[in-house]
Symmetry: C2
Subunit: 127 residues, 2 copies
């Protein structure tokens, strides 16, 4: 499996990535605090998951400091992009617009956000 391979993060892995995306580079302790709060995860489990994720290339760690510091090796954008593509393929048979409409329908968007979507539409029209 190459580094840029089709690594779909699993459920818990995604949960951990989210914590790292939000907190930025963090020691196990901080990641664990979140997981434990969310679902009573054991410290060992958090360590193990991070180690599994490291093998998969989903996170990296800096060992120069004593409590090692973990950081996400994939951005929220790239993970999201892949998951969206996957969802579109798996459920909508490639019809991304169906998903857009569903998502819009379920979104409670601010005027600013709506404006941005419009901007994007205009761009797409232009081409």
């Amino acid at each position: 499996m190459t580094l840029s391979g089709p690594f779909q993060p699993t459920e818990v892995e995604l949960q951990i990535l989210r914590v790292l995306w939000e907190l930025g580079p963090s020691p196990v302790r901080d990641v664990h605090a979140r997981l434990n709060a969310a679902k009573g995860t054991n410290y060992s489990t958090t360590v193990k998951m991070l180690s599994v994720m490291r093998e998969k290339g989903l996170v990296r760690r800096d060992e120069s400091d004593s409590p090692h510091i973990y950081r996400a090796a994939v951005t929220r954008e790239s993970a999201g992009k892949r998951l969206v593509k996957d969802l579109v393929d798996k459920v909508y048979d490639g019809a991304a617009m169906s998903l857009v409409l569903h998502a819009l329908r379920s979104a409670r968007a601010t005027p600013d956000e709506l404006a941005e979507v419009r901007r994007m539409l205009d761009e797409m029209d232009g081409q």
Copy 2:
């Protein structure tokens, strides 16, 4: 687990649902033909998966005809809706608009589809 419970179809289950959404109510044979073509699945496996899905309430079957006829018990829309919500929660922390933008970016939309998105935006503005 209630009937309307949070049943996230698994990978293969989704694959089967897609076949049923596309073909409509079908005997195992037809579902299997697709799975087998896609990934060499054994007939027994298809039968088993359908039976598992039946227990989970993801498909129903009509036994009045001799080859039993299976049909999806969830619509593409409802499954999609749930998966979108899930994705939004898990990756975008509830910011559905981020997903919309991602999906738009990866979509190759027809003018008609773009128009529909606009219509939808107008509606949302109105409220």
